[in-house]
């Protein structure tokens, strides 16, 4: 017992200081290599798109209607259809997803069976291939609800598809807000609604924005789920009940079905990537501004 105590107090061998063995350096180099690889791939794609489609990308290309099945003309009507589909999708999925996230994160206790079931099904749905959502959307919205091939059907199908990822990201965002804020607010007798509005939602804003951006990203990139729901008419839609062609479907069609459509396919892809970046930046900016406004002014 006593001996042990003495030997425990004996010093460890002196550390050997050598840069080669520095484990932090290894991690740092690996992390940098990873980061460089990811950015390289991204820039490669963008540079490739600019090289192959940049020449077509003129103001007229953005505003004109496609002619000759898309080989000539622009993507004006396609952009409008895309915006409408995305609008329907977000108008339905963002409120629903954020409301569900609030329910899951704030108004139910941990281990609640019903909530566990919701979470499991959302996680399962997030992994379902989009073509399955397309089939469901076709059967339910187009046929059963008699919406036909329309922007409405497409947007609603996309809403179903992005709902899981949007909800779960938003829930994580709310859960990452420290409990201290909730206790502090409760201790001064603030109601849960006010706590949520004044403190938790602003503090969780980055998570909510991330959820919406991920959802928009998935929706913009989607082809399979739209083929059988919004259809691929490339004329200018006059209402939500019209069939409309999204950017991704336009790219797919030009690349696969239209001989000589590649240059315009690349140009369209360039627009799509540009839009993704712009939406991402805007969402982050809006979120930060809202957080700032809510959290700092009296």
């Amino acid at each position: 017992m006593h001996d042990q105590a003495i030997s425990w107090h004996a010093a460890w061998p002196a550390p050997r200081l050598s840069a080669r063995r520095n484990p932090d350096r290894f991690i740092a180099i690996t992390a940098w290599l990873g980061a460089i690889a990811v950015t390289t791939v991204f820039f490669w794609i963008v540079v490739d798109l600019i090289r192959l489609g940049g020449a077509q990308l003129t103001p007229a290309f953005i505003t004109n209607a496609p002619t000759s099945a898309g080989r000539a003309g622009g993507i004006g009507s396609v952009l409008v259809s895309t915006a409408l589909i995305l609008g329907v999708c977000l108008a339905v999925s963002a409120p629903l997803g954020i409301a569900t996230a609030i329910l899951l994160a704030e108004f139910t206790r941990e281990g609640n069976r019903y909530c566990t079931a919701i979470r499991r099904s959302l996680d399962t749905l997030a992994g379902v291939p989009s073509i399955v959502f397309g089939l469901f959307g076709y059967a339910f919205f187009c046929v059963y609800l008699r919406m036909g091939f329309s922007i409405l059907s497409g947007g609603l199908t996309l809403a179903c598809m992005v709902l899981p990822i949007l909800t779960r990201t938003a829930e994580q965002g709310l859960r990452s807000v420290p409990d201290e804020y909730r206790y502090a607010a409760a201790a001064v007798g603030m109601t849960r609604t006010q706590t949520l509005r004044q403190l938790l939602l602003p503090a969780a804003m980055p998570g909510l924005v991330a959820g919406v951006v991920l959802g928009v990203g998935r929706a913009l990139a989607e082809t399979a789920a739209l083929l059988y729901t919004s259809g691929y008419a490339d004329r200018m839609p006059s209402s939500l009940a019209d069939s409309g062609r999204s950017l991704s479907i336009h790219i797919y069609d030009l690349a696969m079905n239209v001989p000589g459509g590649e240059p315009n396919a690349y140009a369209t892809a360039l627009v799509l990537v540009g839009l993704l970046i712009a939406i991402n930046a805007t969402a982050v900016w809006l979120g930060e501004r809202w957080t700032h406004r809510k959290l700092s002014t009296a």
Binding site: R182, A187, V188, L199, L295, A298
Partner: protein, 278 residues
């Protein structure tokens, strides 16, 4: 504390009750109050009254349920997962544990300061304005006036008057704790629960907060949890000693501060006070 009074004094704890003196009518009455987290008992069968307008110190070893006791008084325990409270608790005629109790009104009357300063992640001004506006105690025109008076009351006005719109996180720990105190005082509560309010502070900030607490005597009923026995002795009128017995906290002894510290009736109290001192 180095010794374990369990082994030194093999007695069963018995609550030693000193009847409340008639000049200090009780404001808080707990009867057979118990708190559990799932199957784990935090404290058991606490029967106690706390006098109005006095400073009451709650002492005892770590884990004996002091924080849990405080969270019953403002029903903050409702927020803790798997926490259940049993017994009866009466604050100034209000049946606290009843489901019909208006917890919002209760929490307005019973303020709480936490061990770790926890200002809202908003500006200094908004930290105080939020609860005031939420309770509709004043409107946007008069709120600045209330903010200034409250900050003056906690001696923070001079330090922050030029940066009210900065984030509360820009303040030092001691300033944050005083801001939290101001946030609680702004609602003009009757009772203030302080959970080790000085434990995260340096001696000087701690002294400032301590003086502040002393200045509240008479106007507020203060219940303060502290591990600093010297502090408890300095500022408290009454004291209560909790002890961990058989896995759950128990109230061992309570009474006027002097008698608890200088002439403890229970051997466990004596051992704790001496152990902590030595």
């Amino acid at each position: 504390m180095t010794m374990t009074p369990d082994t030194l004094i093999p007695t069963k704890p018995v609550a030693v009750t000193v009847p409340p003196r008639p000049d200090h009518p009780p404001i808080i009455r707990a009867e057979n109050l118990s708190v559990r987290y799932g199957d784990h008992r935090a404290f058991d069968q606490v029967t106690w009254t706390i006098a109005r307008g006095r400073i009451t110190a709650l002492i005892g070893p770590s884990g004996c349920g002091k924080t849990s006791f405080l969270t019953c008084l403002n029903r903050l325990a409702d927020l803790v997962p798997r926490c259940s409270v049993a017994g009866t608790l009466d604050i100034d005629g209000m049946d606290v544990l009843s489901a019909a109790t208006d917890v919002i009104a209760l929490r307005r009357r019973v303020g709480m300061i936490f061990q770790k300063p926890n200002p809202f992640p908003v500006s200094i001004r908004r930290n105080i304005a939020l609860p005031l506006l939420d309770h509709r105690l004043c409107d946007r025109r008069t709120v600045d006036d209330h903010i200034e008076r409250t900050l003056r009351a906690v001696g923070l006005w001079g330090e922050v008057k030029d940066r009210l719109n900065q984030s509360a996180f820009c303040l030092s720990g001691g300033q944050q704790q005083r801001l939290c105190l101001a946030r609680a005082l702004a609602l003009k509560p009757d009772i203030l629960l302080l959970d080790e309010p000085c434990s995260a502070l340096d001696p000087i900030s701690s002294g400032v907060v301590e003086d502040l607490i002393v200045s509240l005597r008479g106007r507020y009923t203060v219940v303060i949890v502290t591990h600093n026995l010297a502090q408890a002795k300095r500022i408290a009128d009454d004291a209560a000693f909790f002890w961990l017995d058989g896995g759950a906290g128990r109230l061992i002894e309570h009474g006027p501060c002097r008698s608890v510290f200088e002439n403890p009736a229970h051997p466990l109290t004596r051992a704790y006070i001496h152990g902590a001192r030595g």
